[in-house]
Amino acid sequence: MTETAKPTAPIWCPGCGDFGVMAAIKRALGELKVPPEETVLVGGIGCSGAIHNFMDGYGFHSLHGRLLPTAVGVKLANPKLTVLAIGGDGDGYAIGLGHFVHTLKKNVDLTYVVMNNETYGLTKGQASPTAPLGFSGNVETPFDAPLLAMSIPSSGFVARGFSGAPREAGQLITQAIQFNRERRGFAFVEILSPCVTYNDTYKEWREQVQNVDTVPGYDRTDRGKAIAGCLSTIASGRIPVGLLFRPSDERLAPSLDRTLLPTVESAPATAEISLDANRARYEKLLAGLA
């Protein structure tokens, strides 16, 4: 066996919610028995985005906010890989928001895990797009990423977990990766992950989270009803968690990599590119120019 890089010890503050998220992701990958060499972890920039350094697999540290295009490139180059993009709320909902919406639209078979701590941990506690009014001088009303995701017509898997409940979070991530492996599309999982140093919300969140399975009449298979159910849960002062939206299979938008690369065998990263194998077809292409 070739000796490879070992995961390094996490650099997170003791008690940081990100530990719970990592445990959840590890549990999911283990449960699905995804071989580490087929796992690509694309990290964003932030405390959260360093996670791939602490795990087995192929890790890629992207630029701040650019983890999703990077992950899309990886998956479209080789759809056999299990690809996870993992980053923070600043990374994904501020500087990278355009890519978030467009990755939902592209609908590539990868899982995006956002560790939402309502703040920029790594740059020391500024307000993020999800920061509540009043936090660190914030005067802008925060937005809700799962609601945004559900509003994109091609979204088909939207979930929210809480790192204080890593078992449940792990189950959501397992379902998300399974969704990808069945080539059903992009899966988005936000995990509430308290920043104990700049925004310790464990207590509030523990009290506020409510699994949508316990919301009377909640229907996760219907986009309108799921959005309405989340809105009313929020209006009652709770945070909806669990699998928020997952329509029936026949209502899922087509996944991009399945559309472009129906058989995973010949993909950009694995295509035969030697001249000899392609010569006849290249000659034909060039002859078309004369």
Partner: protein
């Protein structure tokens, strides 16, 4: 220029009003036709048809277009040159101007040859110089073909008579272009063509005004630099492309969208250039040969990604089709002002190569080379084009598959990887390049990162490690020198006048050399093909063979000259600059050389 009322159509043109050359009906070996009108008038179609006809007459062809960044309206013109001798740029003046409106006359006549003439659309063109002849192009199209839009094909028909085209071949070109469209497009175009010929015959009689001699160039193909780069990408094994539409880079994406999927490749139009470069990086990391193409504004957005690829040692090719900048600048016009950006852009320091082809077959070759170099040296490679090279259709040597080779450098196969006791993504090696595994392979796991890192890819701020990693990466610039594409040299062994240029300045420089040679002036031209790292040895050797050297480029600050002076501080080079949005033409270069004080 004096203007006179346009010629009355009811009477034939009195022959004394025809310019002397026209009366002579003399043979031409180098002819340029400009077609001007409003965007949407079909000027580009006429230009394409003429180019195709010239090509089939075995002439050398060069077409140029001057369009605004909008689809309809606004002045647009295109010129097509056909020549028995090789040409690689626009002719200094136009022999014929086809004008669909007064503005086209006003703009075009500045370029009109003293012996040239203007063919105006009666009813739309009201005044012009003496040499304006009016034919009812749009009226005929409207009344006899049923749609005024066919005026462009009526014009093509009229030109085919006025310029003494072989009628069957000229018709054949139309058939080639519209035959596949189906419906009645071909029929209507053919009748417009016949009507145009009849109109012209009624005006000037049976004898054509000029007679363009056929050529002997049976080898060339008609293509553009963008098309060449797209093809080079395909045969060079490129299989992933992401871009965002921008003039003049878009055609590369368009071509690849058509071609790449049949080879198992993927082309994506991204949501912006930030996404395009990072998708390209992701795909390259996963093991696909990957490229993106953009122009100035998009390049600015890709800038953070450029450094990321350099630091993480991910092999990507970035095509920059330069246009007038900064900001939105002039999207459809010509400039070479991004050199500093591709050489120095992005924060921090990292290695990169900048390659610059001069003509389409060179773009084909260098795109393949860029893919090889990127993987071999594991860094970003820029392919620097410019508007004219990207977009202008011209005669080109056919693309040569026999020169294509694929070198993936230290990419590890699963077997090679399994044979290694230890795999470190950023292993220190003699040449600074570490063996590379891609995801999916056992035993190749680890971190690929833009953070400073140790050999494993683990984040590190250790000063000693930093020094070594910097030397590993930046040292590639020196160690790769022997691998980088060599300049090409044209002209006399020793010369009074030296030229250094890159990109499409190749054309006017080579034609200027021909003019100088006719005047007994010796000249020598170094066509730079690697711009970064600066090819110091090549430049030094070249400078030793010439008296005075002119660095020809399209920008205000003399960027290439500055790079040369930085590498060779005492290099006696003078800048010949142009930055008005248009390309040099050969006589203009000759004039500027002569004006420069010795």
């Amino acid at each position: 220029m004096t203007t006179t009322p346009a010629t009355d159509l009811s009477t034939p043109v009195p022959s004394e009003r025809l310019p002397p050359s026209v009366r002579r009906g003399g043979p031409r070996r180098d002819l340029s036709v400009m077609i001007g009108g409003q965007g949407g008038d079909g000027t580009l179609t006429v230009s394409d048809l003429l180019g195709r006809y010239f090509h089939e007459q075995h002439l050398y062809v060069y077409t140029a277009r001057n369009v605004l960044s909008r689809i309809r309206g606004g002045h647009a013109d295109a010129s097509t040159r056909g020549s028995v001798e090789p040409v690689w740029s626009q002719k200094a003046s136009q022999d014929v101007l086809v004008a669909f409106d007064d503005e086209a006359v006003r703009i075009g006549q500045a370029e009109l040859d003293p012996e040239g003439f203007i063919l105006g659309d009666h009813g739309s063109v009201n005044e012009g110089p003496e040499r304006l002849y009016l034919l009812p192009l749009s009226m005929t199209a409207a009344s006899k073909v049923g749609n005024g839009l066919y005026k462009n094909t009526v014009a093509y028909g009229a030109l085919s008579h006025l310029l003494g085209f072989d009628e069957a071949k000229a018709r054949g070109v139309l058939e080639g272009r519209f035959g596949r469209r189906g419906g009645d497009a071909l029929q209507k175009n053919l009748s417009a063509f016949d009507l145009g010929r009849t109109l012209a015959r009624e005006q000037v009689g049976e004898h054509p005004l000029f007679r363009l001699e056929p050529g002997t160039n049976t080898r060339s193909i008609l293509t553009t630099g963008n098309q060449a780069a797209a093809l080079g990408f395909v045969v060079g094994g490129g299989r992933f492309f992401a871009g965002y539409p921008i003039t003049p880079a878009t055609p590369i994406m368009d071509h690849l969208t058509r071609w790449l999927p049949t080879f198992g490749g993927v082309v994506r139009q991204a949501e912006d250039e930030l996404s395009a470069i990072n998708m390209t990086i992701g795909a390259a990391y996963a093991g696909a040969r990957s490229m993106t193409a953009t122009s100035g504004p998009g390049l600015s957005l890709m800038t953070e990604g450029m450094g990321h690829a350099g630091q993480a040692e991910v092999p990507v090719v970035i095509v920059d089709c330069q246009r007038v900048g900064p900001s939105t600048g002039e999207p459809t016009r010509h400039e070479q002002s991004d050199l500093f950006h591709v050489v120095f852009g992005s924060h921090g320091e990292f290695p990169r190569f900048v390659l610059a082809p001069g003509f389409p077959s060179d773009a084909f070759e260098l795109t393949v080379e860029a893919l090889n170099l990127a993987e071999k040296w594991q860094l970003p490679v820029f392919l620097l084009l410019d508007e004219n090279l990207s977009e202008y259709t011209q005669s080109s040597e056919p693309f040569d598959l026999s020169k294509v080779r694929i070198d993936r450098g230290k990419l590890l196969s699963p077997e090679a990887l399994a044979a290694l006791p230890v795999y470190k993504r950023y292993l220190f090696t003699e040449d600074g390049v570490s063996p590379r595994s891609v995801p999916g392979q056992r035993g190749g796991m680890g971190q690929t990162t833009g953070n400073e890192h140790d050999e494993w890819g683990h984040v590190s701020v250790n000063p000693e490690n930093r020094r070594r990693m910097m030397a590993k990466r930046l040292g590639k610039l020196e160690r790769a020198r022997a691998d980088l594409p060599r300049a090409r040299i044209y002209g006399d062994e020793r010369a009074d006048v030296g030229f250094i240029g890159y990109g499409s300045t190749y054309g006017p420089i080579r034609e200027a050399q021909r003019i100088l040679s006719g005047q007994g002036v010796k000249s020598r031209f170094l066509q730079a093909r690697t711009l970064w790292p600066v090819p110091t040895d090549e430049l030094e050797a070249f400078l030793g063979t010439v008296q005075r050297t002119f660095v020809v480029e399209h920008n205000y600050t003399g960027q290439l000259a500055l790079l040369i002076r930085q590498a060779l501080p005492r290099a006696p080079v003078l800048s010949l600059l142009k930055y008005d949005g248009s390309a040099f033409r050969a006589p203009e270069l000759v004039k500027r050389v002569k004006e420069a004080r010795p």
